[in-house]
């Protein structure tokens, strides 16, 4: 094995990640090559140096904070479910009822406007009657009464 190839595998050799055959080949090479042995020593030292970076400790409140977040999450989920329940049990039926009522009213208006032939005649009759009623309210000797008398006389002739 060549030095370049061996050096690429030295890390895995050190970590015990090589298959038996590769391990033996590298062992053989290391016996003969001082530079690669030196490289292996550096890699081992590097691991030791890196491991000296101290780990951090968890704060005392860490677990309490987890449980607080969990209960907050539950509350959120509960209020969402609550809203869903209200929507299903109250708002949805009420909404459907309003739509139905509005539909019935609209349909009723629509049908009476378009499919009732007597409507116009009845309206006309009503207005004629109310017009005649208004003549009965004319005060005596008023200009309106004189005018109507003149018309009626004209019609009589």
């Amino acid at each position: 094995m060549r030095c370049k190839k061996v050096r690429q595998k030295l890390g895995a050799y050190l970590d015990g990640e090589l298959k038996q055959r590769q391990k033996e080949l590298i062992k053989e090479h290391l016996k003969k090559c001082a530079d690669c042995r030196q490289e292996l020593t550096f890699l081992a030292q590097l691991s030791e140096i890196l491991k000296k970076w101290k780990e951090v400790e968890c704060s005392d409140e860490f677990e309490t904070n987890i449980w607080q977040s969990i209960s907050l999450e539950k509350e959120k989920r509960f209020s969402f479910q609550n809203a869903l329940w209200w929507a299903e049990q109250i708002f949805l039926p009420v909404g459907i009822a309003i739509i139905l009522i509005a539909g019935v009213v609209f349909l009723n208006d629509f049908l009476s406007e378009n499919f009732s032939p007597q409507t116009f005649d009845l309206e006309e009759e009503y207005f004629t009657l109310s017009a005649l009623d208004s003549f009965q309210d004319i005060s005596p000797d008023s200009l309106s009464e004189v005018y109507i008398d003149l018309i009626l006389e004209g019609e009589g002739q």
Partner: protein, 199 residues
């Protein structure tokens, strides 16, 4: 409680928790909280942020317990959540600012400090503590300068002692890719931490 769960595997604890056993979840938190916080801390370099994200990791475990199926090791699944959260946090950060080689490294308390501040800590400390602080600072900086993919592989291999296969499952890549990332990461770290090598 420790004794009660002593011989119970993580998977079994998760299954117990799935059927409503809350203390089983508490035990899982106890087992993994330090690892999760430290993986995130070493990746992002900020202790407070690491703790917040670790909290989110356990919250996600809690929320997805109903969907939990024994397909992989519990720890692999947990690390995967931690890694994904760390990577998305890094993406968010990159949108706001880019990392400069001279940028101050944030301390464990979250406040940015320069090396000079670290060394000039007002409390009287022996030489050894100063040396340790300086070394921690330089290792943190050297690892922080690695590309994210290499950084995460180094953290999982060196500090969590995971096998290449486990790392490949967590990161969703091949074992070969893990090996080559580690190789490149080691070359960079060797250059940056040269002063610590005994010749």
């Amino acid at each position: 409680m420790k004794e009660k769960f002593k011989n119970i595997s993580d998977t079994q604890l998760m299954l117990n928790f799935k059927s409503g056993d809350i203390p089983a979840f508490e035990e899982l938190i106890k087992r993994y909280k330090k690892s999760v916080i430290n993986v995130i801390y070493r990746f992002l370099g900020d202790r407070d942020e690491a703790e917040d994200l670790a909290l989110e990791v356990f919250l996600r475990v809690y929320k997805s317990v109903k969907r939990y199926r024994v397909e992989a090791k519990f720890s692999t699944w947990l690390y995967k959540i931690a890694v994904n959260l760390s990577l998305s946090e890094l993406k968010k950060r990159r949108k706001h600012f880019s990392i400069s080689l001279n940028a101050p490294i944030t301390t464990d308390k979250g406040r940015p400090r320069e090396l000079i501040d670290e060394l000039a800590d007002p409390s009287p400390s022996p030489e050894k503590i100063l040396e340790e602080k300086e070394r921690n600072f330089l290792i943190k900086k050297a690892i922080g300068l690695l590309p994210p993919g290499q950084r995460m592989v180094i953290i999982l291999q060196i500090y969590e002692g995971l096998s290449y296969k486990e790392i490949s499952k967590i990161l969703g890549c091949s074992v070969k890719s893990v090996e080559s990332r580690l190789y490149r990461a080691r070359i960079s770290l060797k250059k940056r931490l040269q002063s610590y090598f005994k010749k």
